[in-house]
Protein backbone atom coordinates (compact mmCIF):
# COMPACT_ATOMS: atom_id res chain seq x y z
CA UNK A 1 0.00 0.00 0.00
CA UNK A 2 2.42 2.65 1.13
CA UNK A 3 4.92 1.29 -1.35
CA UNK A 4 2.98 2.91 -4.17
CA UNK A 5 2.94 6.21 -2.22
CA UNK A 6 6.67 6.24 -1.64
CA UNK A 7 7.55 5.54 -5.22
CA UNK A 8 5.08 7.64 -7.13
CA UNK A 9 4.13 10.61 -5.08
CA UNK A 10 7.07 12.78 -4.06
CA UNK A 11 7.53 13.90 -7.63
CA UNK A 12 3.89 14.93 -7.87
CA UNK A 13 3.30 16.45 -4.48
CA UNK A 14 6.51 17.56 -2.84
CA UNK A 15 7.33 20.39 -5.19
CA UNK A 16 7.83 23.19 -2.66
CA UNK A 17 10.60 21.42 -0.76
CA UNK A 18 10.24 20.04 2.77
CA UNK A 19 8.38 22.15 5.30
CA UNK A 20 9.02 20.89 8.80
CA UNK A 21 7.40 23.31 11.22
CA UNK A 22 7.52 21.16 14.33
CA UNK A 23 11.10 20.09 13.97
CA UNK A 24 12.53 22.79 16.29
CA UNK A 25 10.10 22.26 19.14
CA UNK A 26 10.34 18.46 19.19
CA UNK A 27 12.56 16.04 21.02
CA UNK A 28 16.05 15.15 19.85
CA UNK A 29 14.56 12.27 17.95
CA UNK A 30 12.16 14.57 16.10
CA UNK A 31 14.77 17.26 15.41
CA UNK A 32 17.10 14.69 13.93
CA UNK A 33 14.14 13.20 11.99
CA UNK A 34 14.99 9.63 12.96
CA UNK A 35 13.09 6.67 11.54
CA UNK A 36 10.42 6.54 14.20
CA UNK A 37 9.95 8.67 17.34
CA UNK A 38 7.66 6.90 19.81
CA UNK A 39 7.31 9.99 22.07
CA UNK A 40 6.06 12.13 19.21
CA UNK A 41 3.68 9.40 18.10
CA UNK A 42 2.06 9.02 21.54
CA UNK A 43 1.85 12.80 22.12
CA UNK A 44 0.35 13.56 18.71
CA UNK A 45 -1.79 10.49 18.13
CA UNK A 46 -5.11 12.20 18.89
CA UNK A 47 -4.30 15.31 16.88
CA UNK A 48 -2.79 13.67 13.79
CA UNK A 49 -4.19 10.14 13.54
CA UNK A 50 -7.42 9.38 15.40
CA UNK A 51 -9.77 11.25 13.05
CA UNK A 52 -7.86 9.84 10.08
CA UNK A 53 -8.39 6.30 11.33
CA UNK A 54 -12.14 6.93 11.66
CA UNK A 55 -12.22 8.40 8.15
CA UNK A 56 -10.29 5.43 6.85
CA UNK A 57 -12.72 2.98 8.42
CA UNK A 58 -15.64 4.96 6.97
CA UNK A 59 -14.12 5.02 3.49
CA UNK A 60 -13.54 1.27 3.64
CA UNK A 61 -16.85 0.32 5.22
CA UNK A 62 -18.90 2.34 2.75
CA UNK A 63 -16.93 1.07 -0.24
CA UNK A 64 -17.18 -2.60 0.77
CA UNK A 65 -20.86 -2.29 1.73
CA UNK A 66 -21.93 -0.68 -1.54
CA UNK A 67 -19.62 -2.99 -3.47
CA UNK A 68 -21.10 -6.00 -1.71
CA UNK A 69 -24.68 -5.03 -2.52
CA UNK A 70 -23.83 -4.54 -6.20
CA UNK A 71 -21.62 -7.61 -6.52
CA UNK A 72 -24.08 -9.79 -4.60
CA UNK A 73 -26.95 -8.76 -6.84
CA UNK A 74 -24.82 -9.35 -9.94
CA UNK A 75 -23.79 -12.78 -8.62
CA UNK A 76 -27.40 -13.79 -7.88
CA UNK A 77 -28.50 -12.76 -11.36
CA UNK A 78 -25.56 -14.58 -12.93
CA UNK A 79 -26.37 -17.68 -10.88
CA UNK A 80 -29.84 -17.74 -12.44
CA UNK A 81 -28.76 -16.62 -15.90
CA UNK A 82 -25.20 -17.92 -16.34
CA UNK A 83 -24.96 -16.41 -19.80
CA UNK A 84 -24.29 -12.94 -18.41
CA UNK A 85 -21.34 -14.22 -16.39
CA UNK A 86 -18.66 -13.54 -18.97
CA UNK A 87 -19.58 -9.93 -19.82
CA UNK A 88 -20.03 -9.04 -16.15
CA UNK A 89 -16.68 -10.59 -15.25
CA UNK A 90 -14.94 -8.74 -18.09
CA UNK A 91 -16.45 -5.43 -16.98
CA UNK A 92 -15.52 -5.90 -13.32
CA UNK A 93 -12.04 -7.09 -14.29
CA UNK A 94 -11.60 -3.99 -16.46
CA UNK A 95 -12.51 -1.75 -13.49
CA UNK A 96 -10.13 -3.74 -11.30
CA UNK A 97 -7.18 -3.18 -13.64
CA UNK A 98 -7.44 0.63 -13.82
CA UNK A 99 -4.47 2.03 -11.88
CA UNK A 100 -5.81 3.47 -8.64
CA UNK A 101 -4.15 6.85 -8.87
CA UNK A 102 -5.47 7.29 -12.40
CA UNK A 103 -8.95 6.20 -11.33
CA UNK A 104 -9.13 8.81 -8.57
CA UNK A 105 -7.84 11.47 -10.96
CA UNK A 106 -10.33 10.38 -13.65
CA UNK A 107 -13.25 10.84 -11.28
CA UNK A 108 -12.31 14.43 -10.34
CA UNK A 109 -13.73 16.09 -13.49
CA UNK A 110 -16.95 14.08 -13.01
CA UNK A 111 -17.69 14.26 -9.30
CA UNK A 112 -15.00 16.66 -8.02
CA UNK A 113 -12.61 16.37 -5.10
CA UNK A 114 -15.23 14.60 -3.05
CA UNK A 115 -15.96 11.45 -1.10
CA UNK A 116 -18.18 10.43 -3.97
CA UNK A 117 -15.19 10.33 -6.32
CA UNK A 118 -13.18 8.31 -3.85
CA UNK A 119 -16.01 5.88 -3.14
CA UNK A 120 -16.80 5.29 -6.81
CA UNK A 121 -13.22 4.26 -7.39
CA UNK A 122 -12.98 2.16 -4.22
CA UNK A 123 -16.30 0.41 -4.87
CA UNK A 124 -15.09 -0.46 -8.36
CA UNK A 125 -12.14 -2.30 -6.89
CA UNK A 126 -14.32 -4.47 -4.61
CA UNK A 127 -16.67 -5.66 -7.35
CA UNK A 128 -14.55 -8.31 -9.04
CA UNK A 129 -13.47 -9.94 -5.78
CA UNK A 130 -16.92 -9.96 -4.16
CA UNK A 131 -18.70 -11.02 -7.35
CA UNK A 132 -16.37 -13.89 -8.09
CA UNK A 133 -16.36 -15.23 -4.54
CA UNK A 134 -20.14 -15.04 -4.15
CA UNK A 135 -20.74 -16.70 -7.50
CA UNK A 136 -18.19 -19.44 -6.86
CA UNK A 137 -19.70 -20.05 -3.44
CA UNK A 138 -23.16 -20.50 -4.95
CA UNK A 139 -21.92 -22.63 -7.83
CA UNK A 140 -20.08 -24.96 -5.49
CA UNK A 141 -23.12 -25.82 -3.38
CA UNK A 142 -23.20 -29.64 -3.61
CA UNK A 143 -25.65 -30.91 -6.21
CA UNK A 144 -26.95 -33.59 -3.85
CA UNK A 145 -28.04 -30.96 -1.32
CA UNK A 146 -29.92 -29.14 -4.09
CA UNK A 147 -31.59 -32.35 -5.25
CA UNK A 148 -32.64 -33.08 -1.67
CA UNK A 149 -34.04 -29.57 -1.28
CA UNK A 150 -36.01 -29.87 -4.49
CA UNK A 151 -37.31 -33.33 -3.63
CA UNK A 152 -38.40 -32.20 -0.15
CA UNK A 153 -40.54 -29.48 -1.66
CA UNK A 154 -38.51 -26.39 -0.84
CA UNK A 155 -39.41 -23.52 -3.12
CA UNK A 156 -36.68 -21.76 -5.08
CA UNK A 157 -36.62 -18.98 -2.54
CA UNK A 158 -36.49 -21.36 0.42
CA UNK A 159 -33.69 -23.27 -1.28
CA UNK A 160 -31.75 -20.03 -1.74
CA UNK A 161 -32.29 -18.81 1.82
CA UNK A 162 -31.90 -22.10 3.67
CA UNK A 163 -29.45 -24.05 1.57
CA UNK A 164 -27.58 -22.12 -1.11
CA UNK A 165 -26.69 -18.92 0.73
CA UNK A 166 -25.67 -20.62 3.99
CA UNK A 167 -23.45 -23.02 2.07
CA UNK A 168 -21.96 -20.17 0.02
CA UNK A 169 -21.27 -18.15 3.16
CA UNK A 170 -17.65 -19.24 3.72
CA UNK A 171 -16.73 -18.20 0.16
CA UNK A 172 -18.67 -14.95 0.49
CA UNK A 173 -16.95 -14.03 3.75
CA UNK A 174 -13.58 -14.97 2.26
CA UNK A 175 -14.34 -12.48 -0.53
CA UNK A 176 -15.26 -9.78 1.97
CA UNK A 177 -11.98 -10.36 3.81
CA UNK A 178 -9.93 -9.87 0.64
CA UNK A 179 -12.02 -6.84 -0.35
CA UNK A 180 -11.65 -5.18 3.07
CA UNK A 181 -7.88 -5.63 3.18
CA UNK A 182 -7.54 -4.44 -0.43
CA UNK A 183 -9.66 -1.36 0.18
CA UNK A 184 -7.89 -0.43 3.42
CA UNK A 185 -4.71 -0.44 1.37
CA UNK A 186 -6.13 1.41 -1.62
CA UNK A 187 -7.98 3.99 0.48
CA UNK A 188 -4.62 5.53 1.46
CA UNK A 189 -4.28 6.60 -2.17
CA UNK A 190 -7.68 8.33 -1.99
CA UNK A 191 -6.00 11.07 0.06
CA UNK A 192 -4.58 12.14 -3.30
CA UNK A 193 -7.92 13.83 -4.00
CA UNK A 194 -8.13 15.18 -0.46
CA UNK A 195 -10.78 12.98 1.15
CA UNK A 196 -8.74 12.20 4.27
CA UNK A 197 -8.10 8.83 5.76
CA UNK A 198 -4.70 7.50 6.75
CA UNK A 199 -3.38 8.50 3.34
CA UNK A 200 -3.51 12.14 4.42
CA UNK A 201 -0.75 11.98 7.09
CA UNK A 202 1.27 9.89 4.60
CA UNK A 203 0.95 12.57 1.90
CA UNK A 204 1.79 15.30 4.42
CA UNK A 205 4.82 13.37 5.62
CA UNK A 206 6.00 12.90 2.05
CA UNK A 207 5.72 16.65 1.57
CA UNK A 208 7.57 17.70 4.70
CA UNK A 209 9.87 14.67 4.91
CA UNK A 210 8.85 13.81 8.48
CA UNK A 211 9.68 10.13 8.79
CA UNK A 212 7.88 9.33 12.03
CA UNK A 213 4.50 10.46 10.71
CA UNK A 214 5.07 8.60 7.48
CA UNK A 215 5.94 5.34 9.22
CA UNK A 216 3.20 5.71 11.82
CA UNK A 217 0.43 6.25 9.24
CA UNK A 218 1.66 3.34 7.13
CA UNK A 219 1.87 0.99 10.11
CA UNK A 220 -1.57 2.10 11.32
CA UNK A 221 -3.05 1.20 7.93
CA UNK A 222 -1.44 -2.25 8.12
CA UNK A 223 -2.68 -2.76 11.69
CA UNK A 224 -6.16 -1.65 10.66
CA UNK A 225 -6.16 -4.25 7.87
CA UNK A 226 -4.98 -7.01 10.21
CA UNK A 227 -7.57 -6.17 12.86
CA UNK A 228 -10.38 -6.01 10.31
CA UNK A 229 -9.32 -9.36 8.89
CA UNK A 230 -9.17 -10.94 12.34
CA UNK A 231 -12.65 -9.65 13.17
CA UNK A 232 -14.00 -11.12 9.95
CA UNK A 233 -12.42 -14.47 10.76
CA UNK A 234 -14.29 -14.43 14.06
CA UNK A 235 -17.54 -13.54 12.27
CA UNK A 236 -16.95 -16.38 9.83
CA UNK A 237 -16.41 -18.87 12.64
CA UNK A 238 -19.56 -17.76 14.42
CA UNK A 239 -21.64 -18.00 11.26
CA UNK A 240 -20.30 -21.36 10.03
CA UNK A 241 -20.05 -23.63 13.07
CA UNK A 242 -20.48 -26.72 10.87
CA UNK A 243 -17.21 -26.04 9.07
CA UNK A 244 -15.22 -26.81 12.21
CA UNK A 245 -17.20 -29.82 13.39
CA UNK A 246 -14.83 -32.74 13.05
CA UNK A 247 -15.41 -36.45 12.87
CA UNK A 248 -15.36 -38.05 16.30
Amino acid sequence: MSVAGIGALPALVAQGGPVVPQFEQGSDCVRENKGFCWDWFTQNFDRVFSDRIIQHIELTAIAVSIGFVLAFAAALITYRYPRIGTPVTIFFAFLYTIPSLAFFQLMVPVTGLTWTSAEIALVSYTLLILYRNTLTGLQEVPGDALEAAQAMGLTRRQTMMRVELPLALPAIIAGIRIAVVTIISLATVAAFIGVGGLGQPIFNAIQDGFKTQFVAAGVLAVVLALVADALLVIVQRLLTPWARAKVG
Partner: protein, 357 residues
Amino acid sequence: MESTGVPAGASAAPIAFHGVTKRYPGRESTPAIKDLSLEVPAGEICVLIGPSGSGKTTAMKMVNRLIDITDGDISIGGQSVRRMDLTELRRGIGYVFQQIGLFPHMSVQDNIGTVPRLLGWDKARIRDRVAELLELVGLEPSDAKRYPGQFSGGQRQRIGVARAMAADPPLMLMDEPFGAIDPITRERLQADFLRLHREVRKTIIFVTHDIDEAIKMGDRVAILREGELVQYDTPDQILANPANDFIADFVGADRGLKRLRLRRLADIELDPAASNGDADSVPTVEDSMSLRDALSMMVTLRSTALNVVGGSGEPRGRVTLETLTQFMDTGESGPAAQERVGEPEPEPAPAEPEPRP
Protein backbone atom coordinates in the same frame (compact mmCIF):
# COMPACT_ATOMS: atom_id res chain seq x y z
CA MET B 1 -50.37 -24.12 7.70
CA GLU B 2 -50.03 -26.30 4.68
CA SER B 3 -51.37 -29.78 4.16
CA THR B 4 -49.06 -32.56 3.10
CA GLY B 5 -50.99 -33.05 -0.10
CA VAL B 6 -52.06 -36.56 0.87
CA PRO B 7 -55.03 -37.81 2.88
CA ALA B 8 -54.60 -36.86 6.53
CA GLY B 9 -53.81 -39.70 8.88
CA ALA B 10 -52.87 -42.07 6.09
CA SER B 11 -49.80 -44.01 7.18
CA ALA B 12 -49.49 -45.57 3.74
CA ALA B 13 -51.13 -44.89 0.41
CA PRO B 14 -51.48 -47.12 -2.64
CA ILE B 15 -49.80 -45.84 -5.76
CA ALA B 16 -50.66 -46.53 -9.36
CA PHE B 17 -49.02 -45.77 -12.68
CA HIS B 18 -51.61 -45.41 -15.44
CA GLY B 19 -50.12 -45.67 -18.93
CA VAL B 20 -47.22 -43.41 -18.04
CA THR B 21 -44.95 -42.34 -20.89
CA LYS B 22 -41.88 -40.12 -20.79
CA ARG B 23 -40.43 -38.64 -23.95
CA TYR B 24 -37.45 -36.32 -23.85
CA PRO B 25 -37.31 -33.46 -26.34
CA GLY B 26 -35.23 -34.42 -29.35
CA ARG B 27 -35.68 -38.14 -28.66
CA GLU B 28 -39.43 -38.44 -29.17
CA SER B 29 -39.17 -41.67 -31.13
CA THR B 30 -37.53 -43.59 -28.25
CA PRO B 31 -39.46 -42.88 -25.06
CA ALA B 32 -37.53 -43.26 -21.80
CA ILE B 33 -40.67 -44.82 -20.32
CA LYS B 34 -43.28 -46.43 -22.52
CA ASP B 35 -46.89 -46.84 -21.40
CA LEU B 36 -46.00 -48.01 -17.90
CA SER B 37 -48.90 -49.27 -15.80
CA LEU B 38 -48.50 -50.88 -12.40
CA GLU B 39 -50.08 -50.73 -8.97
CA VAL B 40 -48.41 -50.90 -5.59
CA PRO B 41 -50.76 -51.73 -2.71
CA ALA B 42 -50.49 -49.53 0.39
CA GLY B 43 -47.63 -50.52 2.68
CA GLU B 44 -45.70 -52.61 0.18
CA ILE B 45 -42.19 -52.23 -1.14
CA CYS B 46 -42.08 -52.17 -4.92
CA VAL B 47 -38.58 -52.51 -6.36
CA LEU B 48 -37.91 -51.06 -9.80
CA ILE B 49 -34.97 -52.77 -11.39
CA GLY B 50 -33.37 -53.06 -14.79
CA PRO B 51 -30.12 -52.49 -16.63
CA SER B 52 -28.87 -48.94 -17.04
CA GLY B 53 -31.03 -47.01 -19.44
CA SER B 54 -34.08 -49.10 -18.54
CA GLY B 55 -35.84 -46.05 -17.12
CA LYS B 56 -36.18 -47.22 -13.53
CA THR B 57 -35.00 -43.95 -12.00
CA THR B 58 -37.01 -41.93 -14.52
CA ALA B 59 -40.14 -43.84 -13.54
CA MET B 60 -39.50 -43.17 -9.85
CA LYS B 61 -38.76 -39.48 -10.32
CA MET B 62 -42.03 -38.93 -12.15
CA VAL B 63 -43.87 -39.80 -8.93
CA ASN B 64 -42.76 -36.60 -7.18
CA ARG B 65 -42.40 -34.86 -10.52
CA LEU B 66 -38.68 -34.30 -10.35
CA ILE B 67 -39.21 -35.42 -13.94
CA ASP B 68 -42.35 -34.30 -15.77
CA ILE B 69 -44.80 -36.89 -17.05
CA THR B 70 -45.33 -36.69 -20.82
CA ASP B 71 -48.42 -38.89 -21.03
CA GLY B 72 -50.58 -40.86 -18.63
CA ASP B 73 -50.80 -40.25 -14.91
CA ILE B 74 -49.64 -41.45 -11.52
CA SER B 75 -52.00 -41.49 -8.57
CA ILE B 76 -51.20 -41.62 -4.88
CA GLY B 77 -54.11 -42.68 -2.72
CA GLY B 78 -56.34 -42.02 -5.70
CA GLN B 79 -55.11 -38.45 -6.25
CA SER B 80 -53.42 -37.50 -9.49
CA VAL B 81 -49.90 -36.20 -8.95
CA ARG B 82 -50.32 -34.00 -12.01
CA ARG B 83 -53.11 -32.08 -10.35
CA MET B 84 -51.40 -31.65 -6.97
CA ASP B 85 -49.48 -28.54 -6.00
CA LEU B 86 -45.83 -29.35 -6.64
CA THR B 87 -44.40 -28.34 -3.25
CA GLU B 88 -47.25 -30.02 -1.37
CA LEU B 89 -46.81 -33.19 -3.40
CA ARG B 90 -43.09 -33.32 -2.63
CA ARG B 91 -43.48 -32.52 1.06
CA GLY B 92 -45.82 -35.51 1.31
CA ILE B 93 -43.33 -37.96 -0.20
CA GLY B 94 -40.16 -39.12 1.55
CA TYR B 95 -37.13 -39.12 -0.74
CA VAL B 96 -33.91 -41.04 -0.15
CA PHE B 97 -31.15 -41.24 -2.73
CA GLN B 98 -27.68 -42.63 -3.09
CA GLN B 99 -25.85 -39.34 -2.53
CA ILE B 100 -28.06 -38.80 0.56
CA GLY B 101 -27.99 -35.02 0.16
CA LEU B 102 -27.87 -34.09 3.82
CA PHE B 103 -27.41 -30.36 4.33
CA PRO B 104 -23.85 -30.06 5.64
CA HIS B 105 -24.52 -26.73 7.36
CA MET B 106 -27.44 -28.01 9.40
CA SER B 107 -27.35 -30.17 12.51
CA VAL B 108 -28.90 -33.63 12.28
CA GLN B 109 -31.94 -32.25 14.08
CA ASP B 110 -32.38 -29.44 11.55
CA ASN B 111 -31.83 -31.83 8.65
CA ILE B 112 -34.48 -34.24 9.87
CA GLY B 113 -36.76 -31.36 10.82
CA THR B 114 -36.65 -29.72 7.38
CA VAL B 115 -40.05 -30.79 6.09
CA PRO B 116 -41.82 -30.54 9.48
CA ARG B 117 -40.53 -26.94 9.69
CA LEU B 118 -41.90 -26.22 6.22
CA LEU B 119 -45.22 -27.68 7.36
CA GLY B 120 -45.26 -25.33 10.33
CA TRP B 121 -44.80 -27.79 13.18
CA ASP B 122 -43.80 -26.16 16.48
CA LYS B 123 -40.31 -26.65 17.88
CA ALA B 124 -41.21 -29.06 20.66
CA ARG B 125 -43.07 -31.34 18.28
CA ILE B 126 -40.14 -31.35 15.86
CA ARG B 127 -37.69 -32.12 18.67
CA ASP B 128 -39.79 -35.05 19.88
CA ARG B 129 -40.18 -36.36 16.35
CA VAL B 130 -36.42 -36.15 15.72
CA ALA B 131 -35.69 -38.08 18.91
CA GLU B 132 -38.23 -40.72 17.94
CA LEU B 133 -36.78 -41.08 14.44
CA LEU B 134 -33.17 -41.25 15.62
CA GLU B 135 -34.10 -44.15 17.83
CA LEU B 136 -36.04 -45.79 15.02
CA VAL B 137 -33.05 -45.72 12.65
CA GLY B 138 -30.59 -46.79 15.36
CA LEU B 139 -28.81 -43.55 16.25
CA GLU B 140 -28.25 -41.88 19.60
CA PRO B 141 -30.40 -38.98 20.87
CA SER B 142 -27.19 -36.99 21.39
CA ASP B 143 -26.52 -37.21 17.64
CA ALA B 144 -29.25 -34.62 17.04
CA LYS B 145 -26.88 -31.73 17.71
CA ARG B 146 -24.03 -32.98 15.55
CA TYR B 147 -23.37 -32.16 11.90
CA PRO B 148 -23.55 -34.61 8.97
CA GLY B 149 -19.79 -34.33 8.39
CA GLN B 150 -19.24 -36.06 11.71
CA PHE B 151 -20.87 -39.34 10.63
CA SER B 152 -19.86 -42.34 8.54
CA GLY B 153 -21.55 -43.12 5.22
CA GLY B 154 -23.83 -45.74 6.74
CA GLN B 155 -24.84 -43.43 9.58
CA ARG B 156 -25.50 -40.61 7.13
CA GLN B 157 -27.84 -42.81 5.15
CA ARG B 158 -29.70 -43.65 8.37
CA ILE B 159 -30.10 -39.91 8.92
CA GLY B 160 -31.27 -39.63 5.30
CA VAL B 161 -33.94 -42.26 5.92
CA ALA B 162 -35.00 -40.53 9.14
CA ARG B 163 -35.26 -37.22 7.30
CA ALA B 164 -37.39 -38.79 4.57
CA MET B 165 -39.78 -40.16 7.19
CA ALA B 166 -39.90 -37.00 9.29
CA ALA B 167 -43.38 -35.81 8.38
CA ASP B 168 -44.74 -39.37 8.30
CA PRO B 169 -45.29 -39.47 4.54
CA PRO B 170 -47.52 -42.27 3.25
CA LEU B 171 -45.10 -42.89 0.38
CA MET B 172 -41.33 -43.01 0.11
CA LEU B 173 -39.10 -43.01 -2.94
CA MET B 174 -35.69 -44.60 -2.56
CA ASP B 175 -33.17 -44.30 -5.38
CA GLU B 176 -30.36 -46.83 -4.85
CA PRO B 177 -30.23 -45.73 -1.21
CA PHE B 178 -27.56 -48.20 -0.18
CA GLY B 179 -25.63 -48.18 -3.45
CA ALA B 180 -22.62 -46.21 -2.23
CA ILE B 181 -22.23 -48.11 1.03
CA ASP B 182 -19.76 -50.90 1.68
CA PRO B 183 -21.24 -54.44 1.41
CA ILE B 184 -21.19 -55.29 5.12
CA THR B 185 -22.81 -52.03 6.20
CA ARG B 186 -25.26 -52.34 3.30
CA GLU B 187 -26.48 -55.74 4.49
CA ARG B 188 -27.09 -54.31 7.93
CA LEU B 189 -28.88 -51.25 6.57
CA GLN B 190 -31.07 -53.47 4.40
CA ALA B 191 -31.99 -55.69 7.32
CA ASP B 192 -32.60 -52.70 9.58
CA PHE B 193 -34.70 -51.04 6.95
CA LEU B 194 -36.87 -54.14 6.50
CA ARG B 195 -37.39 -54.31 10.26
CA LEU B 196 -38.23 -50.61 10.31
CA HIS B 197 -40.66 -51.10 7.44
CA ARG B 198 -42.49 -53.78 9.37
CA GLU B 199 -42.97 -51.25 12.19
CA VAL B 200 -43.85 -48.30 10.02
CA ARG B 201 -45.80 -49.54 7.04
CA LYS B 202 -45.05 -47.13 4.20
CA THR B 203 -45.59 -47.66 0.54
CA ILE B 204 -42.12 -47.65 -0.94
CA ILE B 205 -40.77 -47.40 -4.45
CA PHE B 206 -37.22 -48.65 -4.34
CA VAL B 207 -34.87 -48.35 -7.30
CA THR B 208 -31.83 -50.59 -7.55
CA HIS B 209 -29.68 -52.29 -10.17
CA ASP B 210 -28.76 -55.11 -7.80
CA ILE B 211 -30.99 -58.16 -8.29
CA ASP B 212 -30.06 -59.60 -4.90
CA GLU B 213 -31.13 -56.38 -3.22
CA ALA B 214 -34.37 -56.40 -5.23
CA ILE B 215 -35.20 -59.94 -4.14
CA LYS B 216 -34.34 -59.16 -0.54
CA MET B 217 -36.18 -55.84 -0.26
CA GLY B 218 -39.14 -56.17 -2.59
CA ASP B 219 -42.64 -57.37 -1.86
CA ARG B 220 -42.94 -56.98 -5.61
CA VAL B 221 -40.31 -56.47 -8.24
CA ALA B 222 -40.86 -54.62 -11.50
CA ILE B 223 -38.23 -55.42 -14.10
CA LEU B 224 -37.84 -52.78 -16.79
CA ARG B 225 -36.00 -52.88 -20.06
CA GLU B 226 -35.60 -49.94 -22.41
CA GLY B 227 -38.51 -48.14 -20.80
CA GLU B 228 -40.92 -51.06 -20.86
CA LEU B 229 -42.21 -53.17 -17.99
CA VAL B 230 -41.17 -56.75 -18.72
CA GLN B 231 -42.37 -58.50 -15.56
CA TYR B 232 -44.03 -57.36 -12.35
CA ASP B 233 -44.42 -60.01 -9.69
CA THR B 234 -43.29 -61.23 -6.31
CA PRO B 235 -39.59 -62.12 -6.07
CA ASP B 236 -40.51 -65.76 -5.68
CA GLN B 237 -42.61 -65.84 -8.83
CA ILE B 238 -39.99 -63.99 -10.85
CA LEU B 239 -37.33 -66.47 -9.77
CA ALA B 240 -39.62 -69.46 -10.31
CA ASN B 241 -41.26 -68.33 -13.56
CA PRO B 242 -39.23 -65.73 -15.39
CA ALA B 243 -41.39 -64.27 -18.15
CA ASN B 244 -38.75 -64.62 -20.85
CA ASP B 245 -35.07 -65.19 -21.52
CA PHE B 246 -34.23 -61.59 -20.70
CA ILE B 247 -35.63 -61.98 -17.19
CA ALA B 248 -34.07 -65.40 -16.73
CA ASP B 249 -30.74 -63.96 -17.78
CA PHE B 250 -31.22 -60.87 -15.65
CA VAL B 251 -32.02 -62.71 -12.43
CA GLY B 252 -29.07 -65.01 -13.03
CA ALA B 253 -28.37 -68.69 -13.59
CA ASP B 254 -28.41 -69.20 -9.82
CA ARG B 255 -32.06 -68.18 -9.52
CA GLY B 256 -32.86 -71.53 -7.93
CA LEU B 257 -30.41 -70.79 -5.16
CA LYS B 258 -31.84 -67.29 -4.83
CA ARG B 259 -35.30 -68.75 -4.34
CA LEU B 260 -33.96 -70.89 -1.50
CA ARG B 261 -32.91 -67.75 0.31
CA LEU B 262 -36.50 -66.48 0.36
CA ARG B 263 -37.59 -69.22 2.76
CA ARG B 264 -36.55 -70.45 6.16
CA LEU B 265 -36.75 -74.02 7.35
CA ALA B 266 -39.60 -72.91 9.61
CA ASP B 267 -41.60 -71.95 6.50
CA ILE B 268 -41.64 -75.36 4.85
CA GLU B 269 -43.22 -78.70 5.65
CA LEU B 270 -40.73 -81.00 7.32
CA ASP B 271 -40.81 -84.74 7.62
CA PRO B 272 -41.79 -85.30 11.26
CA ALA B 273 -41.43 -89.08 11.29
CA ALA B 274 -37.79 -89.02 10.46
CA SER B 275 -36.66 -86.87 13.32
CA ASN B 276 -35.78 -89.78 15.60
CA GLY B 277 -34.20 -92.58 13.57
CA ASP B 278 -30.50 -92.32 12.90
CA ALA B 279 -30.27 -88.93 14.61
CA ASP B 280 -26.63 -89.39 15.50
CA SER B 281 -25.32 -89.28 11.97
CA VAL B 282 -27.47 -86.30 10.87
CA PRO B 283 -26.43 -82.73 11.74
CA THR B 284 -28.92 -80.53 13.59
CA VAL B 285 -29.80 -76.95 12.70
CA GLU B 286 -32.27 -74.30 13.91
CA ASP B 287 -35.40 -73.61 11.94
CA SER B 288 -34.53 -69.93 11.54
CA MET B 289 -31.92 -70.96 8.94
CA SER B 290 -32.69 -70.13 5.31
CA LEU B 291 -33.09 -72.99 2.84
CA ARG B 292 -30.04 -71.74 1.03
CA ASP B 293 -27.91 -71.95 4.14
CA ALA B 294 -29.36 -75.39 4.83
CA LEU B 295 -28.29 -76.53 1.36
CA SER B 296 -24.86 -75.04 1.91
CA MET B 297 -24.66 -76.95 5.18
CA MET B 298 -25.56 -80.22 3.49
CA VAL B 299 -22.95 -79.71 0.78
CA THR B 300 -20.28 -78.76 3.29
CA LEU B 301 -21.04 -81.65 5.67
CA ARG B 302 -21.69 -84.16 2.84
CA SER B 303 -25.04 -84.99 4.37
CA THR B 304 -28.30 -85.48 2.48
CA ALA B 305 -30.48 -84.50 5.44
CA LEU B 306 -30.60 -82.19 8.44
CA ASN B 307 -32.47 -82.44 11.69
CA VAL B 308 -34.35 -79.24 12.39
CA VAL B 309 -35.02 -77.89 15.86
CA GLY B 310 -36.91 -74.85 17.09
CA GLY B 311 -35.42 -71.86 18.85
CA SER B 312 -35.39 -73.62 22.23
CA GLY B 313 -34.12 -76.93 20.87
CA GLU B 314 -37.44 -78.76 20.44
CA PRO B 315 -37.35 -81.15 17.44
CA ARG B 316 -39.28 -79.99 14.39
CA GLY B 317 -38.54 -82.70 11.90
CA ARG B 318 -36.12 -83.43 9.11
CA VAL B 319 -35.31 -81.75 5.83
CA THR B 320 -33.74 -83.64 2.95
CA LEU B 321 -31.72 -82.61 -0.09
CA GLU B 322 -34.60 -83.78 -2.21
CA THR B 323 -37.01 -81.33 -0.55
CA LEU B 324 -34.62 -78.47 -1.09
CA THR B 325 -34.06 -79.22 -4.76
CA GLN B 326 -37.83 -79.24 -5.24
CA PHE B 327 -37.98 -75.71 -3.94
CA MET B 328 -35.17 -74.74 -6.24
CA ASP B 329 -36.53 -75.61 -9.63
CA THR B 330 -40.19 -76.61 -9.69
CA GLY B 331 -41.92 -73.37 -8.95
CA GLU B 332 -43.89 -75.47 -6.50
CA SER B 333 -44.84 -73.26 -3.57
CA GLY B 334 -45.44 -74.50 -0.08
CA PRO B 335 -48.03 -72.80 2.10
CA ALA B 336 -45.59 -70.03 2.97
CA ALA B 337 -44.16 -69.59 -0.49
CA GLN B 338 -45.06 -65.93 -0.79
CA GLU B 339 -43.30 -64.95 2.38
CA ARG B 340 -39.98 -63.37 2.72
CA VAL B 341 -37.43 -64.64 5.21
CA GLY B 342 -38.07 -63.10 8.58
CA GLU B 343 -41.32 -61.59 7.43
CA PRO B 344 -44.09 -64.05 8.05
CA GLU B 345 -47.02 -61.98 6.82
CA PRO B 346 -49.40 -63.26 4.17
CA GLU B 347 -49.34 -61.59 0.82
CA PRO B 348 -52.19 -61.36 -1.63
CA ALA B 349 -51.88 -63.15 -4.92
CA PRO B 350 -49.92 -61.01 -7.34
CA ALA B 351 -52.27 -58.66 -9.09
CA GLU B 352 -51.84 -58.08 -12.77
CA PRO B 353 -51.17 -54.42 -13.36
CA GLU B 354 -54.39 -52.94 -14.62
CA PRO B 355 -54.64 -50.35 -17.33
CA ARG B 356 -56.54 -47.22 -16.44
CA PRO B 357 -60.27 -47.71 -16.84
